[in-house]
Subunit: 424 residues, 2 copies
């Protein structure tokens, strides 16, 4: 089938769902070595098809130029030999990571004679909806396979050809390992009706959907999905500089948290200064401005440091994803917590302080997926957490929270054994 | 307010939701000792109000008789001094159990200098919708409080007065411990519009709903809820007697799994016999019939044992909750797995076998919340698992699965510390 074949999208997607469900039943008890073999074979197949990937990517880039994609989108779309090698290395890294399925999470005995184990199981079928980055095809496919889940991948229309060739490498790996093709399916059409069908859950066959992309995509998925969604809408990360902060550390962390990469969800978007330490404001603001950042502060921050422009009300609780940061004076850690509760997005917040009590209060009372002390918010990342790859970051509290690696794509079941115990 | 006061249900429920959200913020960082003190004080208050509870219960029983409740429903509704004492003891048991909030689930270091902890946090606000058992007011309120969650309890109209008096004891406990009244709220009206409002999530304030009751209630909640639901619709528990089963053990387990209590979700509803061992059928069937059970078998089971009546197609995948069991011959463990996949409800299934390979295959390939070997399915219960109390049993794969105790009512967050680490 090519992207131009007329198809009955509903029937196509339903068949994909049914095939995924069947494949998931096989994957659930597939040995760890078999899944790892599929991934290493897929990496090898990808390395063997570099010319085909580059050719497919060139077609996508032509399409992107026609569609008038922004430079940033074109950059996300483009593949070269280095990026293809990085994708292959990523698949091998997932292959080499610990297999979560069957892991005994807890184990105990009961006076009744029961021995109880709680073991990890796959979730089932995972739908992944993403945008222009072709590498998501490999990352998401690999993580789902590692965790014993069948994947239904729906890439952006602009990366259609690149994703198709990368998916072909995954298929080669599945076949070499004797696993079903339907373990990792790529929706073979650009038709947007396929997304609607996937969000509907394909007749109960899809267990969870992970959107990977900008706010518009995530918002649509969260609104329309009829199945659970692992996602974050925004990363409005706060950096609170306590009166007991090490001043040099505060400067270093603020610049890194905001400026290392401004376009990622772990970038700091709002600085909160402790009113008890106005002297901390100047050096932080000066360093940010020197690094090319615009600082938009309230009247107190403007009074405490030169070069601060006036913040609008909408600048608080805003995800700039740019060289801009909001700044405000608050009444100590309690004031910071109140501000974050009102404006935060439950993603990542950091306190800079040498005061253990202030840090403990911040950790206890702020309810975001990731809380940090004396650490750049840019570390909010599955790789930096040691999870190998990540499929996204979730800010909900149900099931997965924070970086979503293979372990977060699992559920569990109880295995109970005894020597004929009956209940009295 | 009494149950006859005319009220704006939408406004009432929204206020309950907002108060619950505010209380949840306090509970999230309430010390374990404070929560435990509230529960022991509530138990004492309940013991001090036995006459008031009995009086309220008498009013509910009058109402139940007027409504023509069945004997079984009346039995669930009735309280006496022993049952009230058991409720108080239950609250004390939850008080004495380990506090899950703040527990470090995992902890590790990264080469970047980050120290990462994953710690348990409350979910937030939990709605509990139940039927006639007044003790659920105490059990659910206690478990939600223990896990740091605010509870919104909506009991059945038939237990309205009993629930109100038990809730008053919980309130006394909350006040003695200095916790907000809104930590455990009982919906103060019998109006069914309150249930609809709760299922709608009260403007985003309710994080999860737990229904506790019959299939009709659970089905309605699962269909109408706009927030996640922890529940099981049915417990269609299968008992597979493998050719390698110890014959005496098979008899003992079959009788206990079916007949100990036929009305609970862990009662066995279907017997699967291995075609390779027709000799196992007779003793099991004879013992069941002798214990007062009707056995409805397929032609093969009827041929293998006397006294078996003919099963209809609908008897498979059916939750009898009565002294009836379906029975079928299957082709070994693979046949049992196929049958369970088609007819099971993902609750609890058991294999009786001395063959480790057959047990391993059953454990790996059946995806129910609880799998057992050589053990009565009647052990499918939070108390028997050692969780203290349980608020229900979940068969979904998202978040909670199996018996839902205090730990299953928690989420987690990451606490990250370093000495000023910035990302390269």
């Amino acid at each position: 089938m090519t992207e131009n074949t007329p198809v009955d999208i509903t029937a196509l997607m339903q068949a994909i769902g049914t095939d995924a469900r069947d494949a998931a039943a096989v994957l659930a008890s597939a040995p760890a070595a078999t899944k790892a073999r599929a991934l290493t074979a897929a990496a090898a197949a990808l390395r063997g098809s570099v010319p085909a990937v580059l050719d497919a990517n060139a077609r996508d880039l032509d399409y992107g130029r026609e569609k008038g994609l922004t430079d940033a989108m074109m950059d996300r779309l483009v593949l070269d030999e280095d990026r293809i090698e990085a994708i292959a290395v990523g698949m091998e890294a997932v292959a080499a990571s610990p297999d979560p399925v069957g892991e005994v999470i807890a184990e105990w005995d009961r006076p009744s004679g029961l021995h109880i184990r709680r073991v990890r199981t796959p979730l089932g079928v995972i739908g992944v909806i993403y945008e222009s980055r072709p590498n998501v095809t490999a990352d998401a496919g690999a993580l789902c396979l590692k965790s014993g889940n069948a994947a239904i991948l729906r890439g952006g229309s602009e990366s259609f050809h690149s994703a198709t060739v990368i998916h072909a490498a995954l298929l080669t790996g599945l076949r070499e390992a004797g696993l079903p093709d339907a373990a990792i399916q790529l929706v073979p059409t650009r038709d947007r009706a396929a997304v609607s069908a996937l969000l509907g859950g394909l007749g109960g066959t899809v267990d969870v959907i992970v959107p990977r992309g900008g706010r518009g995509l995530v918002e649509r998925v969260q609104t329309d999905a009829r199945v659970p969604v692992f996602a974050h809408l925004e990363g409005i990360c706060h950096l609170y500089i306590d009166a007991a902060a090490d001043r040099d550390m505060a400067v270093k962390i603020a610049v890194n948290a905001k400026m290392r990469r401004t376009g990622i969800c772990g970038a700091a978007e709002c600085l909160l200064f402790d009113r008890a330490a106005p002297d901390a404001v100047g050096p932080v603001v000066a360093a940010l401005i020197a690094s090319g950042c615009e600082v938009r502060g309230d009247a107190d921050v403007q009074a405490a440091a030169p070069g601060v422009v006036s913040a609008d009300a909408e600048d608080f609780g805003r995800e700039f994803l740019d060289t801009v940061i909001a700044a405000k004076m608050v009444d100590g850690v309690a004031g910071a917590i109140d501000h974050i509760r009102e404006y935060g997005s439950s993603h990542t917040e950091c306190i800079v302080t040498e005061d253990d009590g202030a840090a403990a209060e911040f950790f206890a009372r702020v309810d975001s997926a990731i809380l940090m002390r004396n650490t750049s918010t840019q570390f909010a990342d599955g790789g930096e957490f040691g999870m190998g790859a990540e499929i996204g970051i979730a800010t909900g509290k149900m099931h997965a929270r924070g970086p979503i690696g293979a372990e977060q794509l699992t559920s569990f079941k109880y295995l109970v054994e005894s020597k004929g115990a009956v209940r009295g």
